[in-house]
Amino acid sequence: MSEIHLDLDVLSTLKEVMEDGYPELLDTFLKDSEARLRVLHEERDAEMLSATAHSFKGSSSNMGAIRLAELCGELEQRAKQPSLRDIESLVNEIDSEFAHVRSLCREEREGFHC
């Protein structure tokens, strides 16, 4: 499992691509992610869980949140298993990883100059 919370190389590429849109991208990512996290906590349907985890994995990887993406990947696979055991602990782990990523993003946002 990777230890990278937010890959700086990815971030610098994103900055270069988005230019002035960089803050908006960060905000959109955070908003989307919070919504997804709510679903992960509340949802009982295995297919929904898996799909949401899959989606979260995708956008996290685009942002360079490697560890977060890997955890979501694991959840995506686990949710396909017949028993939903240990899902809750994995979701909590994703929760805390995201909290870490979120604060790094906010730092990025603050440090961003036009």
Partner: protein, 568 residues
């Protein structure tokens, strides 16, 4: 970063807002215009309204997933290629297989790599443009094909007008031809000459389509024009060959078989240049004698080298001449083996009812090939009694006012002229200026031809008509005729024509003299009029067809008279 040479309109269908935003920005920076959709249904809607060049499609989306949306979009695109690149973090091969099954053309993994994305867009766009070119060319080809078909329709209409004067519908002719035979290069012409003889031409031009058809028109004009004027086969052949040699390119020519069937004389004259064997069917014995090609096709040799020598065969009533194009012989089966002449001979041997020959041949071809084909031509002509035929009366183009009624003219044709020149058409045209004679043009032509050929063959060339007692004798007779004609040094045939008014009508006297040895007139005239003998028919014929036939000067001078009443 390089942008693509041509800006495209690209649809991005992605449900994750952040990913959508990121991708849109990347694509816009590469110089393209961006449309977005947040789910599959929206993607289909946007596509159908805006028709972007390329689609980037997320595989997993709510409402309608990427796979279903992709299928719908491909359907909407129809002929055109709209490349769909799936966006996916599916790494298992199952996921990738689904992309392809759904009609995806490529996929891009998350996290997005801009360089790879740019390369894929460029590659997909190249394919898209290639497809567009192919579709446009296909449509162009279809349009040109329609033009060509139309041109052929026009050409055929023109040709049919030229061919209308033919007599293919005569009761003694049976034929089979594809409606578009003309464009396979196959030609079938038939016409009566003023004597009531039937001229038939079965031809096969090299090539297909308009080039083959284009040669047919001048050929048909020569054939019909000269036949109507009473020209013999040799002259018509020379003229057709010269014309084709002049107008066709070096590598084009026309294989042809020409027939002249005389119902009065019960003979058929044949010339075959490059066509498959024709067959002469003896109705009594059932034997079929082949008529092979002894000449090069028309349009190959210069006029100086052209060989117009024909073969003459005697016939009885009921005998048939059968001609076919090589489409029959060359019909091939699944293994590319040709039907061949041997199989045709087998059909002949097995044929019990001559009237069913065509059906037997067609059945044999079907059995051989396994399917019907119509790109061959066949024609069968039967010798019948002259009374069974109704040649249409010739049409005259003048007003009928001025008619020369009191005149005489004499011709002397000497050795060099006798060799290559047949004066019959000219003499006939001259006589037909007299309107009163027009109703008898058939008899006139027959009598004139008969007197002239007797004067030339028995008189000047000294040929013995008793040679013509059977088929072999016939062949020898005509060979001898050609040989003696080639060697002819001196001799002459004189033709005198006298037209005088008589009462309300008029009288024509024809005298034909030759420089030959003459014959025992009394003996020949004493023979009964016998239509079935092969030799000595000439004198019988003349006596049957006109008034006052008489011979003098030991048979060297023949004299006949024609009369006509006042025209109403």
């Amino acid at each position: 970063m390089q942008s693509s040479p041509e800006p495209l309109t690209i649809l991005i269908a992605e449900d994750s807002a952040a990913d959508r935003l990121l991708l849109s920005t990347i694509v816009r920076r590469q110089g393209h215009q961006v449309l977005t959709a947040a789910n599959g249904a929206e993607a289909v809607e946007v596509y159908s309204q805006q028709r972007p060049h390329l689609v980037l499609m997320d595989a997993m989306m709510p409402v309608m997933d990427g796979f279903e949306a992709a299928q719908k979009i491909k359907q909407l695109a129809g002929d055109q290629l709209v490349p769909i690149i799936f966006l996916t973090s599916l790494t298992e091969s199952e996921g990738l297989a689904r992309c392809l099954e759904a009609g995806g053309d490529d996929f891009l993994a998350k996290p997005y790599n801009q360089v790879i994305l740019a390369a894929k867009i460029k590659a997909m766009d190249r394919l898209r443009r290639l497809q567009a070119t192919v579709v446009e060319q296909r449509d162009q080809i279809a349009r040109h094909h329609d033009y060509l078909l139309n041109e052929q329709r026009v050409a055929k209409a023109v040709f049919d007008k030229i061919a209308h004067s033919g007599c293919l519908s005569a009761p003694n002719i049976r034929y089979l031809q594809s409606p578009y035979a003309l464009f396979n290069g196959d030609l079938l012409l038939a016409a009566f000459n003023p004597a009531g003889d039937m001229h038939i031409l079965l031809g096969d031009f090299t090539g297909h389509g308009l080039p083959a058809a284009v040669g047919a028109m001048p050929l048909a004009e020569v054939f019909y024009g000269m036949t109507a004027k009473g020209y013999g086969l040799a002259q018509i052949l020379r003229e057709m060959n010269a014309k084709l040699k002049r107008i066709l390119p070096v590598d084009m020519f026309c294989c042809a078989t020409l027939l002249s069937m005389s119902f009065q004389r019960c003979t058929v004259e044949v010339w075959n240049g490059g066509m498959p064997d024709g067959y002469l069917h003896d109705s009594l014995s059932g034997v079929r004698t082949p008529l092979p090609a002894r000449h090069l096709p028309l349009g190959v040799l210069t006029p100086q080298l052209f060989d117009d020598r024909t073969e003459v065969h005697p016939l009885s009533v009921g005998d048939r001449v059968f001609l076919l194009s090589d489409g029959v012989i060359e019909t091939s089966d699944r293994d590319d083996q040709p039907f061949g002449v041997e199989r045709l001979q087998q059909v002949f041997s097995a044929n019990r009812e001559p009237d069913r020959l065509f059906e037997d041949i067609q059945q044999a071809l079907r059995d051989f090939r396994g399917e019907a084909r119509d790109d061959f031509s066949m024609v069968e002509v039967r010798l019948v009694a002259p009374t069974q035929l109704n040649p249409p009366p010739p049409v005259y183009s003048d007003s009928g006012q001025s008619s020369p009624l009191d005149w005489s003219v004499s011709f002397e044709f000497r050795a060099q002229t006798l060799k290559r020149f047949n004066p019959m058409p000219y003499l006939l045209q001259l006589l037909l200026e007299v309107h009163g004679l027009r109703a008898q043009s058939g008899a006139l032509y027959n009598v004139l031809s008969e007197l002239y050929s007797n004067a030339l063959e028995h008189g000047v060339l000294g040929l013995d008509s008793s040679l013509k007692r059977d088929a072999t004798g016939f062949a020898r007779y005509y060979q001898e005729r050609n040989a003696r004609l080639d060697e002819l040094g001196d001799g002459h045939v004189r033709v005198h024509l006298h037209v005088t008014p008589q009462g309300d009508g008029g009288r024509l006297v024809i005298e034909v003299e030759d420089s030959g040895k003459g014959f025992d007139v009394a003996k020949v005239l004493a023979r009964p009029l016998d239509r079935d003998r092969l030799s000595g028919r000439g004198v019988s014929l003349v006596r049957q067809l006109c008034h006052q036939a008489s011979w003098s000067d030991d048979g060297r001078n023949a004299r006949v008279e024609f009369f006509w009443e006042a025209l109403s």
